[in-house]
């Protein structure tokens, strides 16, 4: 990536020089990772009932525990980083003051979802939180008041992930079977629905459109008689023209995790798959994290039977231009605000921060 520009941190991005710059051990295997936008903390889910707040400079590790009585894998913050939001497999949605000495919950919604709350995302302006879960719903919350603004129904399978477009005018969701729906996250802007013509298909409230099913993200394993699929990670491109959905594809044995990682880029205008980013060489794994770098490449985090990997793809190039073997499987990732570093939650209880630049330059 010789054409990269120096980041705010003054380093020149070069994915092929990616290296570990910090390792920190936690009490339990880690499951999720979120880099707070003000660059003070990394927030981590683990196989415990809460999350950890890791101070990047002091390395202080503070638990945010109390209301949750299940794992927490959905984490977000307000744009200024002052309020942290956590969603748990207990269906709870919790607000926290991020930088309190001993963080206490500010607000708890016990039944944000029935069953697992799988993912949450905060709107770019910070006013709304979108969540999704096993109750087949996508829900929109007022981040200030905690009021439920909208409950979007229409998915017929567990909803695995949600993402806001960069402009905040679209909310995308993806379910177990790879069905992607685009919702209006500004319900008050929506014109009153016109009366339906006889025979016209009934409109789903709040639904802007259905995208084509991303078939490669789902399979019914006939041997084990079970479904596997869904977007395990999801993010819009910076210009909003593409929606990236990461997961596992070409599964031949769901229960052993025999399948390849994939990141599918959906063209938002056409509503169809534009390109599927995958590995040159087959590797068992699932994409647990995806992000677009300002230098016009995508980063994918893999975890599975083939171990942990970073994959780097250029736009529209189906095969990676570089991959990096990690010390352990990846389960979740967050990018630093200046996009020079990536934090990864690993099941070997380690948080690892990787620099996307040459090691020697980092020390200059």
């Amino acid at each position: 990536m010789s054409d990269s520009t120096p980041t705010d941190a003054g380093v020149k991005i070069d994915p092929e020089k990616t290296h570990v710059i910090l390792e920190h051990a936690f009490p339990r295997p880690l499951t999720a990772c979120y880099w707070e936008p003000q660059n003070r903390y990394i927030l981590l889910g683990s196989e415990e009932y809460g999350i950890y707040r890791f101070h990047i400079e002091t390395k202080e590790m503070v638990p945010l525990v109390g209301p949750h009585d299940s794992w927490v894998r959905a984490i977000g913050t307000s744009p200024d980083g002052q309020v942290t939001y956590t969603g748990g497999y207990d269906g709870r949605l919790v607000w926290w003051q991020t930088d309190a000495d001993k963080p206490e919950p500010i607000r708890v919604v016990d039944d944000a979802h029935q069953g697992w709350l799988r993912a949450l995302v905060v709107s770019p302006d910070g006013t709304r939180i979108a969540t999704c879960g096993n109750d087949l719903l996508v829900r929109l919350w007022d981040s200030q008041s905690g009021e439920l603004l909208q409950s979007f129904a229409g998915h017929e399978w567990h909803v695995y992930n949600v993402a806001f477009s960069p402009a905040g005018d679209l909310l995308a969701s993806c379910d177990l079977r790879g069905f992607v729906k685009v919702w209006n996250p500004n319900p008050s802007d929506e014109a009153a629905p016109a009366a339906e013509e006889p025979g016209e298909e009934k409109k789903t409230p709040g639904l802007i459109r259905d995208l084509s099913q991303v078939e490669s993200l789902y399979i019914y394993d006939k041997s084990f008689r079970a479904d596997i699929g869904g977007a395990r990670c999801m993010e819009f491109s910076a210009d909003g023209t593409r929606l990236a959905l990461g997961g596992v594809t070409k599964v031949t044995n769901a229960f052993a995790g025999v399948g390849d990682l994939t990141v599918v880029l959906v063209d938002m205008e056409a509503g169809e798959v534009a390109v599927e980013l995958g590995p040159k060489e087959k590797i068992r794994g699932t994409a647990w994290g995806v992000a677009q770098h300002p230098d016009k490449f995508w980063i994918g985090l893999a975890g599975g039977g083939g171990g942990g990997w970073f994959y780097f793809w250029k736009d529209d190039s189906a095969e990676e231009f570089f991959k990096l073997k990690l010390k352990a499987e990846g389960r979740g990732m967050g990018m630093s605000p200046d996009r020079s570093q990536v934090a990864v939650a690993h099941p070997d209880k380690q948080l690892r921060i990787y620099g996307l630049y040459a090691e020697e330059k980092a020390s200059e």
């Binding site: 196989e47 009932y49 794992w71 497999y89 207990d90 084990f224 008689r225 596997i228 229960f255 975890g303």
Partner: protein, 431 residues
């Protein structure tokens, strides 16, 4: 083909199986023909067992190895507990995993054994050992508990199979070993009636009757000179096919009411549970339903949501229905697997094979209600109270339905223990 040491030359063996059964029924013994009807040596009380109300066993085999932590022995909040919570049940103090909310309401009919240590992590070995009650020894075959039940519990002149396997997946049959192939399972693949039980359309009933009469004459003549267990099994199969043909509707779950079909749901397992109820109502002595699959080395939690989500409501509905219809008191229910799953969660959110500390559920006929037998340590890695294994389980199943599991089969003069003589029933689980 393997030949059984069978033809002892006695007069009983000079008649066809149907005549044989009829003759034995007159004597009050309603067992099959292998080894003089498999008379139990030194235990005349066994014959009396069959005079009472018809006893039945329903064994639900969760193929692949269900996770005890996601079902009967949750450990929330521990390093092994995973993301699911424990919920209270209809038995005060008894908690099970939140993935089983409907079953939780029926636990007063059931009991949990939380202390299995079967010392095995192999699927094939586990399937054999859990369903025969014997440690698997290469080259040695033991009868499936369904074969034992069919032999011991099938009434005289019972025209349906005594041992039925309803499967969508998993092993395709359950063997009878030295009891003879007639006690092997009749398999209902995908819940469909047994194969070849429908008379071909081109064959008229009259022609079929003439054909069978001729076959029967040839058969009896042949049996008079060269009778073996295998030929008896063939004869039995023909007879059984005729019986099945006449009662084919017993196997047709679609004959159940719309309301019941809705209550059991549209899943394959739901239909299989409703089919099992139908068969139990017709007094079939042993039914096994295989529910597949639980071998979740990868994404154990997602898959247990899916699989136990399919299991929970139909199973709970079946337990409740059997109770409401007065069938539960004579029907033993067992829910087992070949083993459990590792307390340790692997790096792919999976759990692997684990025979060291896991659980099963039993209930109904002859079983205490709402009991918890044994226990594991805080995070489920070890049994800390009342270690039992497959041998104890099969003894308990048999004893619960009135079979003396310490008895022996006499097969052509050779003694075979009904169940592993080194083990015994879980006494405190028996009612």
């Amino acid at each position: 083909m393997k030949r059984c040491q069978y033809a002892c030359g006695s007069t009983e063996h000079l008649a066809s199986r149907r005549n044989f059964l009829g003759g034995m029924a007159a004597g009050g013994l309603a067992v099959g023909g292998a080894g003089l009807g498999g008379l139990l040596s030194g235990n005349p009380a066994m014959a009396d067992q069959l005079k009472g109300k018809q006893k039945r066993i329903l064994n639900i085999f969760l193929h692949g190895g269900v996770s005890q932590l996601e079902s009967w022995d949750p450990k929330p909040g521990t390093d092994t507990g995973g993301p699911f919570r424990a919920i209270p049940t209809s038995v005060p103090g008894m908690h099970i995993c939140e993935l089983l909310p409907h079953t939780a309401k029926q636990m007063h009919h059931l009991s949990i054994v939380r202390s299995l240590d079967t010392k095995n992590n192999d699927h094939g070995v586990g399937q054999v050992e859990m369903t025969t009650g014997h440690k698997r020894i290469p080259g040695t075959e033991y009868p499936h508990v369904g074969a034992i039940a069919a032999k011991m519990l099938t009434p005289a002149e019972f025209s349906l199979p005594g041992h039925i396997l309803i499967r969508g997946a998993g092993p395709g049959s359950s063997g009878a070993a030295y009891l003879g192939p007639r006690y092997s399972s009749v398999t209902m693949n995908d819940g469909k009636p047994p194969q070849f039980t429908e008379r071909p359309g081109a064959l008229s009933a009259e022609a079929d009757e003439r054909r069978n009469a001729m076959r029967s004459r040839f058969n009896d003549r042949f049996a008079g000179r060269r009778r073996t267990a295998d030929t008896d099994a063939y004869t039995f199969s023909y007879d059984q096919a005729q019986d099945l043909l006449a009662q084919r509707e017993v196997f047709d779950v679609e004959k159940e009411s719309e309301a019941d079909l809705a209550r059991y749901g549209t899943s394959e397992f739901g239909k299989h549970c409703l089919l099992a109820r139908r068969l139990l109502e017709h007094d079939v002595p042993f039914i096994q339903i295989n529910h597949s699959n639980y071998d979740t080395h990868h994404e154990n939690f997602n898959f247990h949501i899916e699989q136990l989500g399919e299991f929970d409501q139909p199973f709970a509905t079946l337990v409740d229905d059997l109770h409401q219809r007065g069938l539960l008191q004579d029907t033993l229910i067992c829910v087992m697997s070949e083993f459990g799953r590792t307390p340790r969660i692997n790096t792919r959110y999976g759990r692997d094979h684990w025979g060291k500390s896991w659980s099963i559920v039993m209930g109904g006929c002859g079983i205490q209600q709402g009991a918890i037998i044994g226990g594991t340590n805080e995070n489920g890695t070890e049994v800390v109270d009342r270690v039992v294994d497959h041998g104890h389980v099969v003894h308990t199943m048999l004893r619960a339905v009135g079979v003396d599991s310490s008895g022996e089969f006499d097969i052509a003069g050779r003694k075979y223990p009904v169940a592993d003589p080194a083990k015994g029933p879980i006494g405190e689980l028996l009612a």
